[in-house]
Subunit: 376 residues, 2 copies
Amino acid sequence: MPDSLPITPRSKDYAQWYQDVIREGQLAEAAEVVRGCMVVRPHGWAIWEKIQSDMDRRFKATGHKNAAFPLLIPLSFLQKEAQHAEGFAMECAVVTHAGLRKNPTSGEIELKNELEEPYVVRPTSETIIGHFFAKWIDSYRDLPMLLNQWCNVMRWELRTRLFLRTGEFWWQEGHTAHATHQEAKEEVARMLDIYRDVYHDVLAVPVIRGAKTENERFAGALETFCVEALMQDGKALQGATSHDLGQNFGKAFNVTFQNKVGEREFVWQTSWGASTRMIGALIMSHSDDDGLVLPPKLAPIHVAIVPIYKNEAEKTSVMEAAQRIAAELKDDGLNVELDDRDEVRPGAKYFEWERKGVPLRLEIGPRDVAEKSALV
Amino acid sequence: MPDSLPITPRSKDYAQWYQDVIREGQLAEAAEVVRGCMVVRPHGWAIWEKIQSDMDRRFKATGHKNAAFPLLIPLSFLQKEAQHAEGFAMECAVVTHAGLRKNPTSGEIELKNELEEPYVVRPTSETIIGHFFAKWIDSYRDLPMLLNQWCNVMRWELRTRLFLRTGEFWWQEGHTAHATHQEAKEEVARMLDIYRDVYHDVLAVPVIRGAKTENERFAGALETFCVEALMQDGKALQGATSHDLGQNFGKAFNVTFQNKVGEREFVWQTSWGASTRMIGALIMSHSDDDGLVLPPKLAPIHVAIVPIYKNEAEKTSVMEAAQRIAAELKDDGLNVELDDRDEVRPGAKYFEWERKGVPLRLEIGPRDVAEKSALV
């Protein structure tokens, strides 16, 4: 891997600083060969896993269950809800062919079977889930239906920024169906509160709740609520959204239920989502000109220990102490990295862990062993 | 939801029995509107989450880290490794367009921008990961690189069966790079052993390890090893695979490293994967003519309690006892479902939990409350 590059100070170029923190923290990088898409590197994905795990626990505690719906959506589905189609159709990746073949003359691989109806790669799943809700929901007894999906989605964005806006991103999308508008509205508020709590308690990022204007609403929703976080450049960043879909998708996909008096009604739906953009918010809230800063709850590594020695004799005693300390900290439930790489200088090691946002770095040298201390 | 349908006995029609168990267990269903693809319903996905969680812990304990790579792969990437292209190109979903537009005359949505180079939806990720390995690996210090990805993949299969073979499926794909062939071979064996252990310890399904013949090898691999499970119909089912890729992808994507004496060498790679097909193996190993049977470690619900009462007085005492028992079992760490649905008959409830593979069903009626017993 290439050596570290400097991090541009925020005061000089905020956008470049953001990119530099991500690069030096080894969180993600532009895929380049796949337009507008990104690769989330292990350190970045480990942070996402921690956010996921916390959110998933909260969703399940409020009665939601996870499921998995198809990646591809028939093009005609997008057209069933007029506003939804206008909001999303323009930015979809479209699958038109299945299979390839080798051209017998040129040896090149070429497209084989053109599909009768193209599919779009899901930009969001209201339509395909609406189709299955119609199959699964028959009576008021089947309501509320409270589902969530952790998945990848694609929106063919022109201007992309790592974590904040990329062609493909990872998220959860909750989809629920209710017997009354009142219940659906309560669900919308409940999930918005969960997003606020996750930002506060887990990301340590203050957010405010708000409603989107008509122009900014989710395509097909009656109302869209959001949490917005204030970034270091003074700008607000949309952190998560929760939508009151009314009966719009119910009507488009004919999702009805028999109520307690035997009449058929359309269901009231909600959807709500938060994505890997949360990592962008996290970076822009806490990090500084030295690189990534992570709240302990989200740090994949809590403590990095950098042993310092000049010769074999020092190495033996220093490593012994470092291993003992590492073991004790692990017993306390912390994730500890003892950086025993011989070929990397202690300064470079320290620098690397700092840039990866490890909350606590310990330097242990021969004097520390003698004095039973450590440089924090 | 529709009422239960009968489960065809295995002796009558094994393939139909398999479908019926999945339908009645509410595990998954064919997406139908998305050719060859499936929807994994909450009960099925909860089982997958349990398998995932166990496997992920084992992968991490052996030093692997998770990352996320793009869903789309440039078509040209598939062509870089000749055997790989022949093995996969024929069954890929191909994205040829980005964005759609409304035809101003007809109002229909139509394709907008044709891409200069098509992308395929990943059938597996050796090629795109090879591209990033080449960027990230520079020195022997960067090796071994041990990555894993949990994701969806697509293979445009003609004949599909739920969980066993579908257009889209969910899996993990491990990808590693090593300095020597010996190390890579050890990795291949290590991961095969992990798969065997997961089948034995978690799925309670006996498997045997084996090597694939040349014809059956992964496209582009030197050798493919597998675990095979024996199903109730006497057929073997491939349960997971672990591939020795040699230097084939290293050469195709120019993944080199500087060794300890300063020379550049191609890396030695492995890949290994297990998918939602594991749920298919689970079904065909343990289930019977009454429906799904789950080993306790994988059961999303361990105990279902069905209260039985004829009037309000009985209901009060029965529900009190049922709630007390549910609370005690939850304290013991079990996942308990107290089925308090008023509108469903006890027999139908019992039947439903049995078909969902809940290991323990408790019926509690007034006599049980008096005698401090329960029908198991």
